[in-house]
Every structure is written in structure tokens, then in C-alpha cells.
């Protein structure tokens, strides 16, 4: 917090912003305007936002937050008056939520997602909705129906995806922090590519009510932030059991309580890192491990043999769930509504025009793996493999506290570089496992690699046992050198 004074207000972290709002150094309006001025200036180049929320509703929220800070002072919630960007697949009542798809281009949300209700109660301000791969299907944000988002560190490269708009928005300091969603790495991978902290909580920690479903057994909402402390603040604000989502963890958690160890045993599956990893990125990873060791923690080799099948398992389960979830878009009740001769024509014309190519591809794949004659070979096999994978991780967590590997095999790639679907899918090779097992995972910046004169971010990834989300903040802070405040 020492250098908060030297930064422009839009460059602050949540903790720093909360501090300057309380000291009166900046008003809520000044903080918001500084963010919006930068957002407006950068967005034509970056295409991070689909829409800015500049209207009477936002003005009222800004005034209310200021009043609250003035009256409650230190007791006001940490997020009170803090501008946040929201991924375009999370519902805010009365506002368009399109999942960056033509089929929902004009869809207006009829209710608040639970996370939005919680953030409103904290006094957070929503600056706009961010671009994404259509229905969160992608790892580059190139699959948005409304144009790709660019990486602020090198605009010839992708920001990652699918929460690429949220990542670019925070990395370009157009907002203090953002929400994304993560089905196979969609928060952590763009965080790694944009130099941010990205956190995917334990499945069921955060309500999915009001999040557009991609893979319902995999999806979680989570934060994209400038610091580990900020990720914890946002997580603490939005987590919790919710009667509107029966998959949320009950108040009496079934997961083993694990205290935060003084000395972490960090498991590394070296057998997964033998090939396919960019050498410079691997060097950063080894330096990060060395940093952990120097702080007194232990590095332990772990064996996770089924991990090499995780991406194949994922590309059966996710399309199966996606094709099922997306069957609701039929042009009948909301969204794009094309009309043909028969009712069947109505469905087909709406879905054909409304869905982009990658969405259609995954719907077809899901339809295939669930079809009679193939469901045993693909879907049921994948489901069984998922159980084996989970058991392997559970066993590893008997010996170690967290498991580490790089978030991605290489730094951000160039637009169009991964036009073949499988090469794009391979971006998520490390991140999907946390979604398949339901375990929490975080990506934390681990330095940069130089490409064509530009410094490109890389990320280190930690996984923890279910319910042990807090361990990830502690080990993440060991990498960033932050001191976490406990007990709030």
C-alpha cells in the first residue's frame, strides 16, 4: 500500500482503492471516472467491453456508495464504491447479458445473479460487461460474435479466454477488478496471459444462479484481480450457500477442514512437464519454485498419471453438458427468433443463425458423445476417468498441501495462430483438471518472457483440496510477495 500515492486511481488494487476512498483522497466518483476515462480511451483498440453502464442507475449506485463510506467509514464493506467489470454471461437485472452471442444480442436479464445481488449489497459499482468467447467456449476470446479482445501487453496477441474481456479490462487498468467464469480454465488462463491473479473456487463455493450454463458440473464464477489479496476479498464477498443453486456447498461443509500450514508441501507432477512446454516459461516456473523453497516450503514430486487424459475427458464431458444446456435456446421465449414455415424451421433457423461456429461444433460433438451407440465408449468412459482422476488428486493431497504446475504451456499466442480446434483446446491442458475434480485453483503471475520485444506474462498454477481455497491465497501470496491480512 506504500506506493498507492504514486499510482493513478484506476491503477489501484481493491485494498488500495478501499484505503484511498476511506481517507478521502479520492471520491467514489473520481475513482469511477478515472476508470471510465481509461476504459473509453482503450476500448476501441482492446474491445474488452461489450457495453459501458453509464446511466442514472450507475450514478445512483455511486452516490449511495459515497454516502455509505461517509457514514460508515472503516465499517463499510471493502468493495463499497469499487468499480468492477462483469463478464457478459452473468445476469444483472434490467441489463443486456448476451454471452457475446448473436442469439442473445438483445436479451435483457430479468433478475440479478446471486453474485450480483451480493456485490450490490457490498456497494460495488458495475462499470460494464466484458467481451468473451461465445457462451464461454474458447481460450482466446476470438470466438466472440462481436470481435476478438486484444491483449493489453501486446495487441497482436490474444488475452486468453474465455474471460478475455474481463482480463484485458483489469490488465489495462480500466477497472479495479472483474468477475469471470471458469469451466476449463476460462479465468486462470486469461489471468496468466494478462499478468493477473485468476481464481477458480471449489465447485459449489459460489452460486451459479444467474450464470449462463456451459458445463453445469464444471462451471464456477471467480475473480480476476491485480493481487492475491483482491482475489480473496472478491471471493469472500460472493461465496456462500444459496437456495437458488442446489449444488452450492451447504453451510456445514462436507469437506475436511485444513489449517494453513506454516511450511507448505508443494507437489509438482514433473512427469507432465517433460515436453510441450515453452523453455522460457519453464525457466520462470523453476524460478518460482525456487522462490517457494527459499521461503522454507518443500517441493515434493507427485505422480498424477491420469492427468495426461484430462483434456480428452474434458472434451467429452463439457460438450455433452453444453449441448444439453444450449438446447434451451430455441427462439421461442427470448433471444433471437427467426421464423420459417414450420415450428421445426423456427428452431433450426434461430439456432443456425444465432450460434457461432465454435458453439455449433461443440453442440454437434456433445450430441455425438451422448448418442446411442457412443455414450458408453465416450461419455460413460469419461465419467469413470473423471472419478479416477479425482481419486489420484485426493491421494496426492494425503502427501502434499497444494499441487503446482504452469497455468499454460506457452505465453499468449497471436490472433489466428490456433485456427485448428484441437490446437486451441490444448491451451487448457493444465487447467481443466481442477474443473473435472471440482478442486479450487489459482493462477498467479510468475514473471514474463520476451517475445518480439514485448514482455509477455506467464502464470504459475496451484490446486488445493476441495474446500481448502484459503491455502491458495497463502501460497499465491508467497509468489507475489504480498502480506495477506487475516481474519476479515
Amino acid at each position: 500500500m506504500t506506493d498507492a500515492g504514486a499510482k493513478r486511481p484506476n491503477e489501484l488494487s481493491i485494498t488500495e482503492a478501499a484505503s484511498v476512498l476511506r481517507s478521502g483522497q479520492f471520491s467514489v466518483r473520481e475513482l469511477f471516472d478515472a476508470c471510465f476515462a481509461t476504459a473509453e480511451a482503450r476500448n476501441s483498440e482492446l474491445n474488452a467491453y461489450r457495453e459501458f453502464f453509464i446511466d442514472a442507475e450507475t450514478d445512483a449506485a455511486i452516490d449511495a456508495a459515497q454516502k455509505r463510506l461517509d457514514t460508515e467509514g472503516e465499517k463499510a464493506p471493502m468493495l463499497c464504491g469499487v468499480p468492477l467489470a462483469i463478464k457478459d454471461n452473468i445476469l444483472i437485472e434490467g441489463r443486456i447479458a448476451s454471452a457475446s452471442s448473436k442469439i442473445l444480442e438483445n436479451y435483457r436479464a430479468t433478475y440479478d445473479a446471486t453474485v450480483i445481488m451480493k456485490l450490490k449489497a457490498e456497494g460495488a459499482i458495475f462499470i460494464g460487461r466484458t467481451n468473451m468467447d461465445e457462451f464461454a467456449m474458447g481460450s482466446s476470446t476470438e470466438h466472440s460474435a462481436f470481435g476478438a479482445t486484444k491483449n493489453p501487453h501486446d495487441v497482436s496477441r490474444v488475452p486468453g479466454g474465455s474471460s478475455g474481456g474481463s482480463a484485458a479490462a483489469v490488465a489495462a487498468h480500466t477497472v479495479i477488478a472483474a468477475l469471470g467464469s471458469d469451466t476449463g480454465g476460462s479465468i486462470r488462463q486469461p489471468a496468466a496471459h494478462c499478468g493477473l491473479v485468476g481464481f477458480k473456487p471449489t465447485y459449489g463455493s459460489i452460486s451459479r444462479s444467474g450464470l449462463m450454463a456451459l458445463g453445469s458440473s464444471l462451471d464456477q464464477i471467480g475473480p480476476l484481480t491485480k493481487t492475491v489479496a483482491d482475489a480473496k476479498i472478491l471471493f469472500d464477498a460472493i461465496q456462500g450457500n444459496d437456495t437458488l443453486d442446489s449444488t452450492t456447498i451447504p453451510a456445514e461443509s462436507p469437506y475436511e477442514k485444513r489449517g494453513t500450514p506454516k511450511v507448505f508441501r508443494v507437489g509438482v507432477p514433473y512427469h507432465l512437464l517433460d515436453s510441450g512446454i515453452d523453455p522460457d516459461l519453464r525457466a520462470n516456473f523453476d524460478i518460482a519454485l525456487q522462490k517457494i523453497k527459499e521461503q522454507g516450503h518443500e517441493i515434493v514430486e507427485v505422480n498424477l498419471p491420469t492427468s495426461s487424459y484430462a483434456l480428452a475427458v474434458y472434451y467429452v464431458i463439457m460438450p455433452a453438458e453444453a449441448s444439453t444446456n444450449l438446447s434451451r435456446f430455441d427462439g421461442m421465449r427470448y433471444g433471437l427468433a427467426k421464423r420459417g414455415k414450420t415450428l421445426l424451421d423456427d428452431y433450426v433457423e434461430t439456432r443456425t443463425e444465432g450460434f457461432g461456429e465454435e458453439v455449433q461444433r461443440r453442440i454437434l460433438l456433445g450430441t455425438f458423445v451422448l448418442s446411442s451407440g457412443y455414450i458408453d465408449a465416450y461419455y460413460r468412459k469419461a465419467d469413470a476417468a473423471r472419478a479416477v482422476l479425482t481419486k489420484e488428486y485426493d491421494d496426492a493431497f494425503e502427501k502434499v498441501d497444494v499441487i503446482a504446475f504452469p497455468t499454460t504451456p506457452s505465453p499468449a499466442f497471436k490472433f489466428g495462430e490456433k485456427s485448428d480446434p484441437v490446437s486451441m483446446y490444448l491451451e487448457d491442458i493444465f487447467t481443466v483438471t481442477a474443473n473435472l475434480t471440482g478442486m479450487p485453483a489459482i493462477s498467479v503471475p510468475m514473471g514474463t518472457v520476451m517475445r518480439e520485444g514485448k514482455d509477455l506474462s506467464t502464470g504459475i498454477h496451484f490446486t488445493a483440496p476441495k474446500g481448502a481455497d484459503d491455502l491458495l491465497f497463502t501460497i499465491g501470496a508467497a509468489i507475489t510477495g504480498e502480506t495477506l491480512l487475516h481474519g476479515h
Partner: protein, 95 residues
């Protein structure tokens, strides 16, 4: 090998129409994905291994919201409406 016909059939099941010009490419890409996914064939999963422990979560059928609270908001999204009813094409023919 996935053929154009296979893609067409899946598309029909999924209520999507893939234009003729894209069928060959879709079939090729489909093959690429299935080839990758097919590594699962070599993976041995223990016989009788219990799948993930899924449990049903129920709640009491109680605390309904007040009648009509959401009607207008939802009906506003209808592509075609008659009063509060969603208007669609006739499905059953009387001929």
C-alpha cells in the same frame, strides 16, 4: 472417419443446419477432435470403480413468490405475445 452425412445427421438432431459448403471442413475438424478424444480408449478404468458420488439435493416446496411478480418481465422477452401468453405456431394440425 466422420463423413459429411454424419455431420448432417448430428446437426439435424441438434436442430442446426450446417451449410453444404462447410460440411467437409466440419467433418475433418470433427475427426481431429475425435482422434484426440479417442486416447480415452487406451485408458484402463478399474471395473466396478464407483463413479463420483452424486447425491440429490431437495428443498421444501415452499415460500413461493407473489403471483405475477415476474410475469411482465418474462413476457417482455417473448418474440410474440398475446396478453400474457407466449404466441407460437400451431403444432397440431386438424386436417
Amino acid at each position: 472417419m466422420a463423413t459429411s452425412e454424419d455431420v448432417k445427421k448430428l446437426a439435424a438432431l441438434a436442430r442446426i443446419s450446417v451449410p453444404e459448403g462447410k460440411l467437409t471442413r466440419f467433418a475433418e475438424e470433427f475427426d481431429g477432435i475425435l482422434k484426440y478424444v479417442s486416447q480415452l480408449e487406451e485408458l484402463q478404468v478399474p471395473k466396478g470403480e464407483p463413479l463420483l458420488p452424486y447425491t440429490n439435493v431437495f428443498r421444501a416446496d415452499a415460500d413461493p413468490h407473489e403471483k405475477g411478480k415476474w410475469t411482465e418481465k418474462l413476457a417482455e422477452q417473448f418474440p410474440a405475445r398475446e396478453g400474457n401468453a407466449l404466441s407460437v405456431k400451431q403444432i397440431i394440425s386438424h386436417d
